[in-house]
């Protein structure tokens, strides 16, 4: 310890870290409450629904389908897919008996899940469930980990104040109310053009829509909202709901294909063993729907809460505040991916068990 402290390199790094921490504490919103706050950024706009990244209202309006607009979560999901595809292409390009590093790593991950599948569902069914379980894990973990990369949520399209106010008024008109411009919050951005970067200046450079309207035409700042180009794919309920639906549909498909349609459906509509078993079966059917909901909101809630946590920490203590939470988010992202995959596996295994063979 003493030798470590006397090394000039370590001392320098330690001093730099200390300076950063002090600057972050004093310069952020936390320090802002005591008269500091010189480097803090205004808190980023938190929105539940994914935002379309294109300025035009819509790309295609398909009848009975709705208007299709590319959102930032779709872009993130597609980048995760591309990354996974490239990694697997690189890893399997030159297959060798004695694997190289990438091939070895891929094999190690697959080995873990193959073993889990074969332990939970037996060798034959395990092999059948494996691709879906593995794909869910890889996709979720890739999307979660990519979601905390720098640039996610901080670089995006600049939506000007006029657009924001226009949208708010449109929405209010639809509900038959007046737009409450005091509640429309706008951030002030540097630079010009359509690109916006999460501002990195004073904490208090935030104005409301009403204030903006009151300003004179020429003196208005470049206020508006940041619509990020990338946003962690699993902070979109559509994505997690889609995953949950695919997982549960596949679980029931396997249930039907292994047990037969009547046996499988008979588990939920049980007319043979009296009213109590009928009620139990119906309850089980209800719990299948609850499983979809818990799948959806577990992943969404964890990842969205993580994003919000990072935003709030970046707001409170800029520069260093998010560092420990980045580690936490890496862990949470991994665990959530693992849980999603494992629960799918367990549901699939229980859905394909013959109830008669258990002897009751």
């Amino acid at each position: 310890m003493g030798r470590l402290l006397s090394s000039p390199k370590v001392l320098l790094i330690g001093a730099a870290a200390l300076a950063l921490i002090i600057a972050g504490l004093a310069g952020g919103a936390l320090g802002g409450a005591f008269g500091g706050g010189f480097i803090g950024a205004p808190i980023a706009h938190i929105q539940l629904a994914a935002e379309p990244i294109t300025a035009s209202p819509q790309i295609a309006d398909i009848p009975f389908f709705g208007d299709f607009r590319i959102t930032n979560t779709m872009v993130a999901a597609w980048s995760a897919i591309v990354v996974l595809a490239v990694i697997s292409w690189l890893g399997t390009r030159r297959l060798k008996e004695v694997p190289g590093r990438l091939q070895g790593a891929l094999e190690a991950v697959m080995e873990v899940f193959l073993n889990a599948c074969e332990t939970v569902a037996g060798p034959e069914r395990g092999r059948r469930f494996f691709p879906l379980v593995m794909t869910i894990f890889l996709f979720v973990v890739a999307a979660n980990w990519m979601g905390i990369l720098p640039g996610f949520g901080t670089i995006g399209r600049f939506e000007s104040a006029e657009e924001v106010i226009h949208h708010a008024e449109e929405k209010a008109e639809k509900d038959g109310e007046h737009a409450d411009l005091d509640n429309v919050k706008l951030a002030v951005f540097d630079g010009d053009g359509f690109l916006a970067v999460q501002p990195f200046g004073s904490v208090n450079e935030e104005i409301t829509g009403a204030e903006y309207e009151e300003m004179e035409e020429g003196a208005r700042p470049r206020a508006g909202l940041l619509v990020p180009f990338f946003r962690s794919a699993n902070t979109d309920i559509n994505m997690t709901l889609g995953l949950a639906l695919v997982a549960m549909v596949m679980v029931h498909y396997w249930g039907v294909s292994v047990l037969g349609l009547f046996t499988h459906v008979g588990k939920y509509f049980n007319f043979r063993e009296g009213p109590i078993m009928l009620f139990v079966g119906l309850l089980e059917g209800l719990s299948e729907i609850a499983r979809v909901i818990s799948f959806t909101f577990r992943l969404f809630g964890n990842i969205f809460a993580g994003e919000v946590l990072l935003i709030v920490m970046a707001f409170l203590v800029p520069l260093v505040g998010i560092v420990p939470f980045l580690g936490l988010e890496l862990f949470v992202g991994l665990v959530q991916a693992f849980i999603f995959a494992m629960l799918t596996l367990v549901f699939a295994a229980t859905a394909t068990i013959h109830h008669d063979s258990e002897g009751h």
Binding site: P131, T135, D236
Partner: protein
């Protein structure tokens, strides 16, 4: 639903994207890698079995060899014993022969000595008789009948212990 952000286009896009990823990974990752892994485990199993049989084979051949070595050792032992016996017999034969020869030589030497001794005694006796006669002639002064004298001396000599016993 709209406030939560759930909409049909987004949901369909998510499902389609995930299905596409499933297919991509299925053909790009799982199939080739599972193939390689299965092949490898089959190969490992095979080589383990081969190693097992090889070990058994080695065990067997070692036992065989040990048996052979044991037999060869016994044979060698027997051969050595036989050779030693032969050598022993040979030595004893030689020894006996040498002893016999020595015995014969000694006997020859003894016979020679006896013969020499007899000859010497004979000669001595002749000289002694002549000497005695001469002495007696001097004493008596006259020539005695030589023939009777000689007979007399012969008788005396025969009676004496030293020069008698002519064999």
């Amino acid at each position: 639903m709209e406030a939560l952000g759930i909409n049909l286009p987004g949901l369909v896009t998510a499902i389609v994207s995930f299905t596409a990823l499933y297919l991509i990974l299925h053909f790009l990752l799982y199939k080739p890698l599972l193939n390689v892994m299965d092949q490898r485990s089959a190969k490992i199993k095979e080589s383990l079995e081969t190693a097992q049989t090889a070990r058994e084979e080695a065990q067997r051949s070692r036992e065989e060899m040990e048996k052979q070595v044991g037999a060869a050792r016994a044979e060698g032992q027997a051969m050595i014993a036989q050779a030693r016996e032969v050598a022993e017999r040979f030595r004893e034969e030689e020894l006996a022969k040498a002893r016999q020869e020595i015995e014969a030589q000694r006997a020859r030497a003894a016979a020679d000595i006896r013969r020499e001794k007899a000859a010497a005694i004979e000669e001595l006796r002749g000289q002694f008789a002549g000497l005695a006669i001469t002495a007696a002639e001097r004493v008596v002064g006259e020539s005695v009948d030589e023939a009777s004298h000689r007979r007399l001396i012969e008788e005396v000599l025969d009676e004496s212990a030293i020069l008698g016993g002519r064999s």
